[in-house]
Amino acid sequence: MMSDCYAIRTEDLRRVFRAKRREAKKQKREVVALDGVSFSVGSGELFGVLGPNGAGKTTTIKILATLLSPTAGRAWVAGIDVAKDPKRVRRHIGMVSGGETSGYGLLTIEENLWMFSQFYGLDTRVARARIKELLEVVGLADRSRTKIYHLSTGMRQKMNFVRGFLTEPEILFLDEPTLGLDVQTAHTLRGFVSNWLAEHRDRTILLTTHAMHEADELCGRVAIIDKGRILACDAPATLKRELQRDAIFRLRIADLADARGVVGTSPDVTQFTQTASEAGVDVDAILTHDGALTQLLASVEAAGGRLLSLEKREPTLEDVFLHIVGHGFEDEIREGGSA
């Protein structure tokens, strides 16, 4: 059924989490984390899975990394069925999860990394050279002999990032690798990922993120996932091109109490998001045509709003998401989707 030409492939992957009986009284009995997810990633690709919190990104990675069994459907990594032969899959993979503080606190950074290199059978001299090189990249070279419990969360995350690349795995899963990192570090790591893949063309990376610009900058293709379903899957440029016939505007409006009511009821607004700002509210709106802007501005003015700035934008992946799903990432997070 599965051919070896894909580094990763999933077929109708489904994962349902069932609450315990006593917990089920307070919450839903079943939570469908993945609902028929199918995609394939070719060798050498940097493939992104893009979605808000609770969309099913981490669940997908956990299944592919053999940490979680699917409820139904199948998945192959390096041509091996993850459910049937997890041990063989582990020879081909590496994983980095962002936003966590894992690490053996009593070991130094160098010891932690060296120990993991030994799990993968790496020659000690090679391992030490790579550790040194990678710690330089993430700016931890001068802390290599520092014990983990002395490190900040961001530093631990950088160390885990190094651990993932240290063994140069054939297939690497990066689960929100820049989550919680400062802008400069996140930028450095993104640059490193790009360069690493360019230098190791036979390697494959599956990256999950809810940072649109990260997916846009790094990924050759992205799958947009929401509520456990893949809604679109293509190159970012292709996805954005499909929106170019629409008119996308960013408006900054002051003194508008009910932006949702005003913008949302305008007949030619197909989708919109709103974000509170110091000056008032920022509205990103997708209109059916440029001419609809006049009507929208009139509605804003009639509702007492003052237009502070107006910008016509090129479509972004966020617009693509908004267009497909009907709401933005921020809306999803505000509404409590954080699983």
Binding site: T66, R90, M95, Y104, L106
Partner: protein, 270 residues
């Protein structure tokens, strides 16, 4: 590698003096309290003919909670404290070798405590351990089989720990506590109620402790008097083989269940 990590974790958390106190005095004190209670309660005190057997049993039993809790605790420690179990699992490492390796550090510390305890018994309490009379081959065989047996028990408990979401920090020590009663450590098996004695007879640790009593003292307890040394070793070897099958199957089953329920990277305690 895992043993090195275990040693770092065991020895690195405090200064050497505190580590020595914790590692040696705690098990020694625990064992000696019961020995002295026995000495006071028994009719002939330290001169009771049962005392040497009780003393050696207590000394060697130090290994049991150390290795059982050492191995099973690794699951909790790595999963919930260090957050590393998922990375160990996604690495191409033999998980049994890893767990046993982590238990080795505990076993080394326990060995020092056992030796000190036996020296104390011999030099200060009159326990008749005579180096010249020891059958070293028998001791070596007992040690090797015992190490395998305790490691396998630890792995079995590790499996239980993996699928137990809460309060699992006590699994290793609770089981060791039960074994303390059932394996004839403080009360000879033939003094226990019949059903408890029968339970004790199906636990391989009872035979292992008996083998050590014979190796160090030249005689064992009444409960196993009908078994020759060879049969005793054969029972330990056979039961260890059965335990190996149970431990591997049990652990794999628990692992499969943990993957199905998403417990390999769950955090419930920290």
């Amino acid at each position: 590698m895992a043993a090195w990590l275990g040693w770092q974790i065991e020895s690195n958390w405090a200064d050497p003096f505190v580590f020595a106190i914790y590692s040696l005095v705690k098990p020694l004190a625990g064992a000696l309290i019961l020995v002295f209670m026995y000495a006071v309660i028994a009719k002939d005190g330290l001169h009771s003919p049962l005392f040497p057997g009780v003393f050696v049993g207590n000394a060697l039993f130090i290994y049991v909670p150390a290795v059982l809790a050492g191995i099973s605790w690794t699951i909790i420690d790595d999963r919930e404290h260090y957050g590393m179990l998922k990375y160990v699992y996604t690495a191409p490492v033999n998980v049994f070798a890893y767990l046993i390796g982590r238990g080795v550090a505990k076993a080394i510390v326990a060995t020092v405590a056992v030796v000190i305890m036996l020296l104390l018994g011999t030099l200060a309490l009159g326990v008749p351990v005579r180096l010249a009379g020891i059958n070293w081959l028998f001791v070596a065989a007992t040690l090797v089989l015992g190490s395998a047996m305790l490691s396998l028990f630890g792995i079995l408990l590790g499996g239980v720990t993996m699928i137990t979401a809460r309060h699992n920090y006590g699994v290793g020590e609770a089981v060791a506590g039960g074994l303390y009663l059932l394996c004839g450590v403080v009360f000879p098996l033939d003094t226990l109620p019949a059903w408890l004695a029968a339970t004790g007879r199906v636990i391989p640790i009872s035979y292992w402790l008996e083998a050590f009593r014979r190796a160090l003292l030249g005689h064992g307890t009444e409960a196993f008097a009908s078994l020759s040394d060879g049969v005793l070793l054969a029972v330990i070897a056979g039961s260890t083989a059965v335990l190996a099958v149970l431990a591997v199957l049990g652990f794999r089953l628990a692992e499969r269940r943990a993957r199905a329920k998403g417990l390999l990277d769950m955090q419930t305690m920290y």
